[in-house]
């Protein structure tokens, strides 16, 4: 059981006071994403079929339930935010048509803005490295990205064996030409309030 789950279960056993539930996140979801979680039937179909349900600390239905219960802070510290594969199985199967994958994306974005530490920093790091490549050249070179990812974590030889196999198949490209109008792409990054350390 990952550490974050231990933390969660320790404060799990208490009485929740539901007299004055903080509805702000629920309303924000409705206004910004058009998602109305009051239509949730609490059936569990999202959780039952979720690709990674068995490793989530809070499963999809529970994540929606946390929002219903106004438990914003707990949401920002979920490990589930960093293991969701965005496969859209939950979205497609939900009888209320709730876009749960989008909810997880939304919560993750907010968590980052609030400065919450990701439970899996390597996942966040990989995303940021990829976005950095897009910002620099407009496209992503897989080989360059992998090398940078290894270097940043100090794991120089991770996937080296795979790298060797790919090299002999002529699949590794070290140089990716950037796009001409890179300014048009950089403009999108600069106008965005997302804070990235890279």
């Amino acid at each position: 059981m990952p550490d974050s789950t231990k933390q969660v279960t320790q404060s799990y056993y208490k009485t929740y006071k539901l007299d004055n539930i903080d509805d702000s996140l629920k309303l924000e979801l409705k206004e910004k994403c058009g998602i109305d979680i009051e239509t949730c039937l609490e059936c569990g179909k999202c959780t039952g079929g979720c690709s990674n349900t068995h490793i989530f600390d809070f499963t999809p239905r529970k994540i929606v339930q946390l929002i219903k219960m106004g438990q914003e802070t707990r949401l920002y510290h979920l490990d589930a935010l960093w293991t969701c594969v965005s496969c859209q199985l939950c979205v497609d199967r939900c009888p209320a048509g709730i876009d749960i994958a989008r909810i997880i994306d939304f919560v993750r974005e907010k968590a980052i803005k609030r400065g919450a530490e990701p439970t899996r920093s390597n996942v966040k790091m990989f995303h940021e490295l990829m976005l950095d490549e897009i910002n620099k050249t407009g496209r992503v070179g897989e080989t360059v990205l992998m090398i940078k990812f290894n270097l940043k974590r100090g794991l120089y030889f991770e996937n080296a064996d795979l790298g060797r196999k790919l090299f002999f198949k002529g699949k590794l490209k070290l140089f990716i030409p950037g796009i001409k109008n890179i300014g048009q792409v950089r403009r999108m990054f600069n106008s965005n309030p997302v804070q990235r350390e890279v």
Partner: protein, 344 residues
């Protein structure tokens, strides 16, 4: 002016039978039209009924005998209504039989009792209906129960049977937002029957709720859980995967909040109740009021009246259990009799 009035009852299921019997017994000429070769509708397909575990065959036999006893009722099976034209105080109706015979009749009131069908669950690809063997809907399973009961000694029973409720019901995304009312009860019945036949077979009912709002309904459902030991799991199944010739079900036990897996040999889907083709056709022919799903709807303050001299009863109006269908049939009959008794 006292002329002989004729009522047309369309549909020989439980509601239609009740309506025809009551109108006929009140002394009015009644024509009962049924598209199938035999009377009984969907009830004739049932092996048992809730909440008293009665054999529907007995009920239908009783009703059909009452029907036959009344000389004013003519029964036309294998016949459908092809055309209807509204006159001032009657309908001119054209009937067609499967032998090709056409018949033109004049009727003074119509009762639509065309029943229901089950939603085609192929839409739910995640359950594998139509793709994997041994995934069937509740009516198909009822036939299976009949088959098993007639041949019990020679059947090697399934190790595990799973029942999925709300397939197509309570689903804004792929199905209908409404609740089909009867499935919670008949699923409890079916699961209980499996345990009666094969006590060692594990039965699982996957539910969001169990709705037992009726006389003796809650007691019935509790007896299935507590005395027949059917296991109820709260969670709408998400996926069925074929595994080693059996069916792996992925769901969540929402009460515990954990993902679960169950392997079953057979899966029964409680598919939504939808208006039958006959209901759609008749509502058009007679200009009946219908709701957004195609079920027959009633006029304000008149629960079984749907048009000028047109009434309805049974599942064509919405999902209803046996007792309710008979109630509605009798109510529609009362409307017709009252109409016929009025001085023009």
């Amino acid at each position: 002016m006292d002329s002989v009035k004729t009522a047309l009852v369309i549909g020989g299921g439980l509601a239609g039978l009740e309506a025809a019997i009551k109108i006929g017994q009140a002394g009015h000429k009644t024509i009962l039209v049924e598209k199938e070769a035999a009377l009984g509708g969907n009830v004739a397909k049932l092996f048992s009924s809730f909440p008293r575990w009665e054999n529907p065959v007995d009920l239908l036999e009783y009703k059909i005998n009452k029907l036959k006893e009344c000389s004013l009722i003519s029964v036309m099976t294998g016949t459908t209504v092809k055309f209807a034209q509204k006159r001032d105080k009657s309908y001119s109706v054209e009937l067609l039989s499967t032998t090709g015979t056409k018949n033109k009749i004049e009727v003074d009131a119509v009762v639509i009792a065309t029943g229901f069908e089950l939603f085609d669950a192929s839409v739910y690809g995640e359950y594998g209906y139509g793709s994997f063997d041994n995934v069937m809907d509740s009516l198909q399973f009822e036939a299976k129960l009949k088959e098993w009961s007639e041949n019990k000694e020679n059947i090697s029973p399934p190790k595990s049977v799973a029942f999925f409720k709300c397939v197509g019901s309570r689903d804004r995304s792929k199905g209908f937002p409404y609740c089909s009312k009867v499935c919670c009860m008949y699923t409890a019945k079916q699961a209980g029957l499996v345990k009666d036949l094969f006590p060692d077979t594990r039965c699982f009912v996957f539910y969001m709720d169990y709705r037992a709002a009726g006389k003796e309904y809650e007691e019935f459902t509790r007896s299935v859980i507590e005395q027949k030991h059917v296991r109820y799991v709260r969670g709408r199944p998400s996926k069925v995967l074929p595994e080693d010739g059996r069916l792996l079900i992925r769901a969540e036990d929402t009460l515990m909040g954990v993902p679960i897996e169950i392997t079953a040999d057979m899966i029964v889907l409680a598919s939504a109740v939808v208006p039958s083709h006959g209901t759609k056709e008749m509502s058009k022919l007679f200009n009946a009021k219908i709701d957004q799903y195609g079920f027959i709807d009633h006029e304000d303050f008149n629960p079984v009246k749907t048009g000028d001299r047109v009434f309805y009863a049974g599942a064509c109006g919405f999902a209803v259990e046996n007792l309710g269908a008979m109630h509605q049939g009798a109510a529609a009959a009362a409307e017709v009799i009252s109409l016929f008794n009025q001085v023009d």
